[in-house]
Amino acid sequence: MSAPPAAPLTYVYAVTPPAPAVRLLLPSLTGVGGRPVTLLHAPGDDPGPVAFVISDVPRPDWDEDALKARFEDLRWLEDAARSHHRVVEALAAHTTVLPLRLATLYQDHAAALGVLRTQGQAFATRLARLSGHTEYGVKVYVRPAPPAEAEPPVAGASPGRAYLQARRAQRSAHEDHYRQAGLATERVAAVARRFTADRVGHPAQSGPLTSASPEENVLNDAYLVPDEHAEAFLEALAGAARGLAGVRVEVTGPWAPYSFAAPPPPPEEP
């Protein structure tokens, strides 16, 4: 049974319990490409433990060829990412949510339902694990060393020597900032040991999207925090950069548990 060419594709945002609050929420949401957002679950009296939150999207805009071209377009990508995020955030405000990776598409509802049937229990297990937890991001930045502040030049020093002195001073300030970043990172780790359930390290951020800032990102972690510890976690983090003028600690979130949606990979070696 193949779909006619013009049949829409099924875009999946997230897995959630098929709760009444979710049903009531969805009609007010706008999805990717301005599409309505609906709930998809097994037909009949028993919807099963979990449902997909989906949009039907026009095939010509979202098939493989279209996506290959569009993922090259940062404005389109940002729009899609923010639309996807808006739906996930709205869900997360009301229930536990398992976000799917951006641009997860099925040929039709039947194909998506097939996945729900075979993997619904695994999704439900993961949802239960994430229930009562929230993701936060913690980033550590190294501030640029101040331009070499000339120490009072040694009497009679040559300009060349003064220059070298200034360079040396800047380099040592630079090294000191990295040392401070190491200290801040240790403090973050200590806070995390006390208050968090899981950690995922994202690669440090660099590249065009961050180049406006002169600071260097050296830590880009995501933490899964039990809700009852969230306040203490955030309070403790506020002290992570105390007395360290060369670094900045930034906390992002609360996030839906994007970084913890997939179960950890099975251990491969001891």
Partner: protein, 86 residues
Amino acid sequence: MKAVDAMDALEGVDAVDAMTPAGRREGVLPDRQVALVDLLDRLLAGGVVIAGDIVLSIADIDLVRISLRALVCSVATLEDGDDDGR
């Protein structure tokens, strides 16, 4: 603004989780748009990747991955993200 509509829609309903931090989400960072780079870290490298009848999921796109990485270097985890079974 959609979120506000959503709240309206839920009025009078026993909103699940209203007292949890997740329920307070909208009050924590009012009116602040998340940084795109933080969002892409999560949406391009995080999230569930499902094997199956997927037309396309981003981990599958070798060509795009290259240009995306130039755009967002922090998405380096895509390198070892091929766990989707395609």
